[in-house]
Symmetry: C2
Subunit: 260 residues, 2 copies
DNA sequence: CGATTGATTGATTAGAGTCAAAGCAGGTGG
DNA sequence: CCACCTGCTTTGACTCTAATCAATCAATCG
């Protein structure tokens, strides 16, 4: 078993996690115990509060002691699964999908390296959506009960978890605004700029990247049909705002996009 | 100064808070210190974890020691305000509104008795939206730093706060699904059923109630224009699903509404 | 009681959805 | 190594839902 195997660099962490796992415990899923160490993870600035002492980091390392590798299309968790852990994306990317009985689907988010997954499960003790890998990916597994215990004795971590959850609330609010008030054109532009910003924060190019999701998944996230997404991409191409070639995106005129 | 003065009973707590305040401290806003007591609040089951001891409740009473009364249209907090407290609606109701520079507005939620307000401010230390009273209302003020301190020593409260925030994430996800996948007709039906359910959980009739928001505010919440909201109400009236008369709503056929 | 705000309804329009066809890319197996 | 799938994307033609514009009506409030 190996860590992330993606060939395109866009979504991979700048410095990939170093050592291959020493052991593999076969539980329900293949996980690699004792591999990850927050203390020397390149994504720490994204996942963790900035002001932890070495001693506090060690405590965290004791909690976050396993990872899980997924292939493209693999399900990290499914609606209704018992909630036990949250996850941090270490490499790769995911989508979270909410399903209605009648077949309607809504993609509620795309998560890339450094993002958290599973916070919606805290509420009812069961996962509230499906999380699916968009490419071969690795997540850190964070048992939530243990995290809560550490939070009770480590104020900065407690505050960090609160900010994390609040940040998810804020993110979803602005997605509600996108869905409620923007035209198709504005939604697609906002989506591209938002992704660009997040990739930049992770050390990637903000101008050129590869989409890991299909037009259908983008449409499902933005509340429109895949044909409309495609038309908007073509429109941006014509207007020299973006260069699109399949999944390859180059943002030519970010200001122009923002002004739509 | 008196507690909630609304004349229509629909949104008022079944047993209104008993004692008028003894003192009034004039800080920035009129607040009533030492009035509320979680330990004998009729909304406790909604706001608080169910399994607290008397001693634990006393600790809480020490934190949540003031309320604030607002008139219809008053602003509880505004985007950009320094975040210090979250709020629990004691009586009355609110809307939260997200604004875009270009004038677009999205109502992100309606809060009634027992609901929490302000959790989106934790993330950045500033409020992320405006919260405005839809009628004369009273909120409990919960200083967040103190709440965090108590959470560190009281596991059930910690878990409750986590569930509260996660619940907000879940609520917003399903609103994203509503905005992304439903027709205008389905959105309005879902809105009415959802409000009905929440009122029922607070001891009110699920069949008949008064809307405290305008058609425009409803539209702004559901991602449509006020005329469309009005047309859907008229349609439901014709189809004998709902009786509407201005702000008075009677749900005649909840199953019919749910099947749209 | 007039003025203002909110609600309803109608006529028309625009934007996105639907249906359909064709092109492209990547992967598989002969 | 090539041919053929299969799944994804693009584009076009047409349809339909909800937005826009406009007029009227009802309720509320100084």
């Amino acid at each position: 078993m190996q860590l992330a195997q993606t060939c395109e660099p866009a979504y991979r962490a700048p410095r990939p996690a170093p050592a291959p796992p020493l052991h593999t415990l076969e539980t329900e899923f293949p996980t690699t115990p004792r591999t990850p160490r927050c203390s020397d993870c390149s994504l720490r600035a994204l996942c963790m509060p900035p002001d932890l002492t070495a001693q506090q980091l060690a405590k965290l390392d004791a909690v976050i002691c396993s990872t899980r590798s997924l292939k493209r299309g693999d399900v990290l968790y499914r609606t209704g699964d018992t909630f036990q852990s949250i996850y941090a994306v270490r490499s790769g990317s995911f989508k979270t999908v909410l399903m209605h009985r009648d077949g309607r689907e809504q993609v509620t988010g795309f998560q890339i390296a450094g993002d958290a997954l599973g916070l919606d499960g805290v509420c009812a003790g069961r996962q509230n959506c499906d999380a699916i890998a968009l490419e071969d990916s690795v997540v850190c597994i964070i048992p939530f009960a243990q995290l809560e215990a550490v939070c009770r004795e480590m104020k900065p971590l407690q505050q960090h978890v609160h900010r994390l959850m609040s940040g998810e609330i804020v993110r979803e609010s602005s997605q509600m605004m996108l869905l409620g008030t923007m035209t198709a054109e504005q939604r697609v532009a906002t989506f591209l700029l938002n992704l660009s910003t997040r990739l930049k924060a992770r050390g990637f190019s903000s101008a050129e990247f590869n989409l890991r999701m299909t037009r259908e998944e983008i449409g499902c996230y933005l509340g429109m049909k895949l044909e409309t997404v495609s038309r908007m991409f073509s429109k941006f191409q014509r207007e020299n705002l973006v260069n699109t070639n399949g999944k390859t995106i180059r943002i030519v005129d970010p200001d122009g996009l923002a002004q739509l």
